[in-house]
C-alpha cells in the first residue's frame, strides 16, 4: 500500500469528519449544549489536523489548529457558543472543507477568506479570555513540513510546555545505529541528578534505558545513591528506590540532557546543571566527593536484550544492592527487574492470550468494504446480460410451449424471479444515501443567506434515502442552483417577511423519499411564491408567449423553466450566473428525471424532482420506425396521440405542424431524421409522441407504431461501437434483437435546421 492510498483513506475520513463537524455545529446552533456534541465537533477538527499533519498538509494543519484552539475554549466553557460564535464556526467548517478539497485535488482556496476566519477565530479565542495564552497570529503561518530535515540535526528541545502543538518535536537523541560521538577537545560537563519517583517503572519508563540514552551524549561517570532502599520486607519490587548522580561531558548542553529524560520528567525529579571548568566545586555539597565509575555501555545493552524469561528472578534483588555500590551494571539489572516481572506476568499464558488477541483483532475490521466502482459496474453489466438472457430464454420457451404449464415454464418463472432479485441487490450496491449532497446544501444556504442578508433555516428530511451513486453525483449541481434560487428569489427579505406576519427567518425544506420505484426530491420554501404577474409579463417581453395568451396558473409557473428566463430585476451575484431554471430542468432530464413546480402566492413554492433510482436501466417506450425498433425514454414523453388528417398543417416546403388543443407543435419525422427512409411518412398512419426537449419546446415525434413499454438495460454504444448522433445508447430486447435508444434532444435539434445527413447514415446501417 503506498502513501497515496493511505492519503485517500485519510481524505475519506476527512469527509466523514467534516460531515460530523457540520452536523454537530448545526446541533449546537439549535441550542444543543450536550458536552458530547461539543466533544464530537472538537474531535472532528482534531482528527483532521492530526491526519493532515502526518501527510504534510500544512495549510490544513494551520487552519485546523486555530479552529481547534477556539473549539477548545468552547469545550472548556471559556467561550459561550452563541449564534455569532457558531456563525464563524460554521464558516470555518466550510473553509476547512475547502482546504481539504484543495489538498486532495490540488486546487486553490480563497486565501483571503481563510485568513479572515483565522483572525475571527483567534479573536473569539482571545477576546473572551484575555488571560489565556492563545497562540498568536504568527502561529497560523504554515508549519514546517513533517518531512523537513529538522529532526536530522539535533535541535535543543524546548521545554515540553512551550512546544508548538502542531510542530514535530525535534528529537535530539542520537541515532541508535550511530557510533559514539567523538569527544571534542573541549566539551562542557553537565551534572545531572536523576531521582525517579516511586512509580517510574509502573509508568513504563525505564531507568536503564534512560541512562543508556544519556551515555550516548558523551563520556559520563555515574554514581548510584541507594540510601532510600528499604529493607526487604518493606520493599515493593515494582517501585523505584535508587537515584543517580551523573557527570557527563557533552556538547548537547542541558537541553540535550533534558531531552533524554523528556518522558520521565513527570516521573522523576531532575536537576541539570552545566559545570564550567571545576566539577568539584559543584559537587562540594555532597559529603563524599564524586567517585566516577566507568560506565560500560555494553553491559546495558546486554541487560536490555536478555529475554524476559531469562531475567534473574525477583528474589535475587536484595542481594544485588550490596554489590551495586560501586558497579553500575548491577544497578542496571536491578532496575530492569520490576519490568521483567511485569513481562513475566504478561507472558503467563502466551498461547491463550495470543489467541484472544487475534480474535479481538478480527472484530476490529469495519463492517464495510471498499470496492472499486469498476468492479461493481462490471457486475451490474453482467447482471444486465443475465436479465436479457433470461428474457430471451423465456420468450423462446413460451413460443415453443403451447400449454404453458410445463415444468420448464415453472422453472423459468423462478429464474425470472431470482434474476430480478439479483438485479435489485446488485443495484443496491451502488445505492448511496443522498445525505452527502444534502449536507453540502446547508453550506450553500449559509453562504447565500450571508450574501443576501437573509436569515434562513434549512431543514432536511429523508437524508438516508438511497439512490444510485451516479445519480447522486449528478444531483448536486442542479440542486445547488435550485437552493440558490430558493433563497435568493424564493424567500423574501426579513423585513418583508415580518411585514407579512411571517417568521423573519425563512425556511427551506429539502426532502427525499422513494415513490413508485423512483426517488422524489422536494425543495420547498416558505417564501412569497411565484409572482405570476411578473413571470407573465417577462414571458411576453421575451416573446415566449403571446400578449393575450390564456395560461393557467400552473402553465405560468412552468414558464420559469424556459431558456433565458429570469425574473430577477437585476442580475444578482448569486443566482444570476447566466444559468436559469432551464438549465436545471435540462440536467434533471439528462438524468431521466422530471421536475415540476407548484406555488402558492404568499406561502412559497415547491419544486418536485422525480429521478430514476439508477442510470443502468431505463423505462422506455419501444416503437417501430421504418421497420427498425427504437426505444424512446419514457421520461421524455409527455403524451402520445394518434394524429388526424385535419390536425396536420404544412408549413413551408417540408415543415409540418400538428395542432394540439389550439396550439401548434412542429412534427419531427424520426425515420427521416435518422435517414431510415428518404421520403416523409404520412403522419396519419403513425403515432405522434409529444416530447419535451432541451429548451422546453415541445415537438411531436412521428413514429410508425408503439410496441409497448419496457424496462431496458442500457448498453453504451460508444463503448461497443462508436457514437452515433441521434442515438443515446442501445439495448437488447427480450427476443435478442438490438434496439437503439433515441436521443430525443439530438433528434429535435437536428430537426431544427441542419439534419446531420452524413453522420446519420451510420444509424441507418447500424
Amino acid at each position: 500500500m503506498d502513501m497515496n492510498e493511505i492519503k485517500e483513506i485519510f481524505f475519506q475520513e476527512c469527509e466523514e469528519q467534516l460531515a460530523e463537524l457540520e452536523s454537530g455545529l448545526l446541533k449546537m446552533n439549535d441550542g444543543d449544549r450536550d458536552p458530547e456534541t461539543v466533544n464530537a465537533v472538537f474531535r472532528a477538527v482534531h482528527s483532521i489536523k492530526g491526519g493532515a499533519g502526518a501527510f504534510g498538509l500544512d495549510d490544513l494543519v494551520s487552519f485546523a489548529h486555530v479552529f481547534e484552539t477556539t473549539l477548545d475554549c468552547v469545550r472548556s466553557n471559556k467561550l459561550e457558543p452563541n449564534q455569532d460564535v457558531l456563525k464563524v464556526m460554521l464558516k470555518s467548517a466550510d473553509v476547512l472543507a475547502d482546504l481539504t478539497n484543495a489538498a486532495r485535488d490540488g486546487g486553490g482556496v480563497d486565501e483571503a477568506r481563510s485568513r479572515q476566519l483565522i483572525r475571527e477565530l483567534e479573536a473569539l479565542a482571545n477576546g473572551e479570555m484575555p488571560a489565556a495564552s492563545e497562540p498568536p497570529a504568527a502561529k497560523a503561518a504554515p508549519a514546517p513540513k513533517a518531512s523537513a530535515p529538522a529532526p536530522a540535526a539535533p535541535t535543543p528541545a524546548t521545554a515540553a510546555t512551550s512546544e508548538d502543538g502542531f510542530q514535530p518535536i525535534p528529537f535530539s537523541f542520537d541515532d541508535f545505529d550511530g557510533e559514539e560521538q567523538p569527544v571534542a577537545p573541549y566539551v562542557p560537563t553537565c551534572e545531572v541528578l536523576f531521582v525517579p519517583k516511586r512509580d517510574l517503572y509502573a509508568k513504563g519508563n525505564e531507568a536503564t534505558l534512560l541512562l543508556r540514552d544519556l551515555s550516548r551524549l558523551g563520556e559520563m561517570s555515574i554514581r548510584c545513591d541507594m540510601d532510600k532502599l528499604p529493607l526487604l520486607q518493606d520493599m515493593n519490587p515494582e517501585e523505584a528506590y535508587f537515584s543517580w548522580k551523573i557527570s557527563i561531558a557533552t556538547d548537547k548542553g542541558e537541553d540535550g540532557v533534558r531531552t533524554v529524560f523528556e518522558f520521565a520528567e513527570w516521573d522523576c525529579d531532575l536537576e541539570v546543571r552545566t559545570i564550567e571548568d571545576e566539577p568539584e566545586a559543584v559537587a562540594g555539597d555532597d559529603e563524599q566527593p564524586m567517585q566516577p565509575v566507568p560506565f560500560d555501555l555494553s553491559i546495558l545493552d546486554d541487560a536490555s536484550d536478555v529475554p524476559a524469561e531469562d531475567e534473574p528472578p525477583v528474589f535475587e534483588q536484595p542481594v544485588a544492592p550490596a554489590a551495586a555500590v560501586e558497579v553500575a551494571s548491577n544497578v542496571v539489572k536491578l532496575a530492569e527487574a520490576p519490568k521483567a516481572e511485569a513481562r513475566a506476568a504478561l507472558a503467563a499464558s502466551p498461547a491463550a492470550s495470543q489467541a484472544a488477541a487475534n480474535a479481538a483483532a478480527s472484530t476490529a475490521a469495519a463492517p464495510t468494504i471498499r470496492v472499486d466502482l469498476d468492479r461493481v459496474d462490471r457486475l451490474i453489466n453482467l447482471v444486465g446480460e443475465l436479465v436479457i438472457n433470461q428474457a430471451m430464454l423465456s420468450q423462446s420457451v413460451i413460443e415453443n410451449d403451447n400449454n404453458g404449464v410445463s415444468s420448464i415454464n415453472m422453472g423459468l418463472e423462478e429464474l425470472q424471479q431470482l434474476t430480478r432479485e439479483i438485479q435489485d441487490s446488485v443495484m443496491a450496491i451502488r445505492a448511496q444515501p443522498v445525505k452527502p449532497v444534502f449536507q453540502r446544501m446547508s453550506r450553500i444556504v449559509r453562504e447565500i443567506a450571508d450574501a443576501t442578508g437573509k436569515s434562513v433555516r434549512l431543514l432536511t428530511e429523508g437524508e438516508n434515502t438511497e439512490v444510485d451513486k451516479t445519480v447522486i453525483d449528478k444531483l448536486a449541481e442542479p440542486l445547488t442552483h435550485m437552493i440558490r434560487n430558493a433563497v435568493d428569489h424564493g424567500l423574501e427579505s426579513p423585513e418583508k417577511r415580518e411585514a407579512a406576519g411571517k417568521n423573519p427567518e425563512g425556511t427551506v425544506r429539502l426532502t427525499a423519499k422513494h415513490r413508485s420505484g423512483r426517488i422524489v426530491i422536494e425543495l420547498a420554501d416558505d417564501g412569497g411564491g411565484i409572482n405570476r404577474e411578473k413571470v407573465r409579463q417577462k414571458a411576453i417581453d421575451n416573446d415566449l408567449i403571446a400578449a393575450d395568451a390564456n395560461l393557467s396558473d400552473e402553465e405560468i409557473d412552468n414558464l420559469i423553466f424556459h431558456a433565458g428566463f429570469s425574473t430577477a430585476d437585476k442580475i444578482s451575484d448569486i443566482s444570476g450566473r447566466g444559468v436559469g431554471m432551464d438549465v436545471v430542468k435540462r440536467s434533471i432530464q439528462a438524468l431521466g428525471g422530471r421536475i415540476t413546480i407548484s406555488s402558492k402566492p404568499g406561502q412559497g413554492s415547491v419544486f418536485t424532482m422525480s429521478l430514476p433510482l439508477t442510470l443502468a436501466v431505463l423505462d422506455g417506450m419501444v416503437v417501430t420506425v421504418a421497420g427498425q425498433t427504437l426505444v424512446v425514454p419514457l421520461t421524455a414523453i409527455v403524451e402520445t396521440l394518434q394524429p388526424e388528417a385535419s390536425a396536420i398543417h404544412s408549413f413551408g416546403a417540408s415543415q409540418r405542424l400538428i395542432s394540439i388543443r389550439n396550439s401548434f407543435c412542429p412534427l419531427v419525422d424520426v425515420g427521416r431524421i435518422l435517414n431510415f427512409r428518404g421520403t416523409q411518412a404520412n403522419p396519419v398512419e403513425g403515432v405522434a409522441l409529444l416530447v419535451e426537449s432541451e429548451g422546453g419546446g415541445q415537438r411531436a415525434l412521428m413514429v410508425d407504431a408503439i410496441q409497448g413499454q419496457r424496462q431496458v438495460v442500457i448498453k453504451s454504444l460508444e463503448a461497443n461501437y462508436t457514437h452515433v448522433p441521434g442515438i443515446a445508447a442501445a439495448t437488447i430486447l427480450g427476443d435478442g434483437r438490438v434496439a437503439l435508444i433515441l436521443d430525443v434532444d439530438a433528434v429535435v435539434a437536428a430537426s431544427r435546421g441542419q439534419p446531420l445527413k452524413q453522420e446519420m447514415s451510420l444509424a441507418a446501417t447500424g
Binding site: 485519510f10 512546544e163 509508568k203 513504563g204 534505558l209 513481562r343
Partner: protein, 122 residues
C-alpha cells in the same frame, strides 16, 4: 521474537501510518479502533508497548490508560500517547494517568520508531 505493539486510534489512516512505520521497523503490530477496543485487546493479549490516541470515541485514551494502569498486569508496559494538544494540560493529565511518554501529532514515522526504540530499548 520482535516486540508486539498495540496501536489504538479511531482514525484508520493514522492507524495505517503507524502500522506501516512500526512493522517496517520490525515490530509486530495489533490495531484497536478506540479506547474500549484498546483496553480489551491489551487485556487479552501480550504487548510490549501501547501507542494510543487520546481523543477517541467510546473510551478516550486517558480513561484507557487509567484502566490499564489500575490492572497489576499492565503496570510497567510503556504507553505512548499521540497528541496534538498544544497545551501542557493534556500531557500532564495523560502522564498523571500513567502514560510513559508521548509523540506529538503530526509525527514523522521515523520519530515514532525512534520513540519505540527509546522506550522498548530495542
Amino acid at each position: 521474537m520482535s516486540a508486539h505493539i498495540l496501536t489504538v486510534d479511531d482514525s484508520a489512516s493514522i492507524r495505517l501510518t503507524t502500522k506501516i512505520a512500526l512493522t517496517g521497523a520490525g515490530y509486530q503490530v495489533t490495531e484497536a479502533v478506540d479506547g474500549l477496543d484498546g483496553l480489551n485487546k491489551a487485556k487479552a493479549g501480550t504487548f510490549d508497548m501501547i501507542v494510543t490516541d487520546l481523543n477517541m470515541p467510546n473510551m478516550n485514551g486517558l480513561a484507557m490508560i487509567e484502566a490499564l494502569r489500575s490492572s497489576p498486569a499492565h503496570t510497567g508496559i510503556p504507553i505512548i500517547f499521540l497528541t496534538t494538544e498544544s497545551d501542557a494540560e493534556m500531557k500532564s493529565r495523560a502522564k498523571a494517568a500513567g502514560a510513559t511518554g508521548w509523540i506529538t501529532k503530526p509525527f514523522d514515522p521515523e520519530q515514532l520508531v525512534k520513540i519505540a526504540k527509546k522506550v522498548l530499548g530495542k
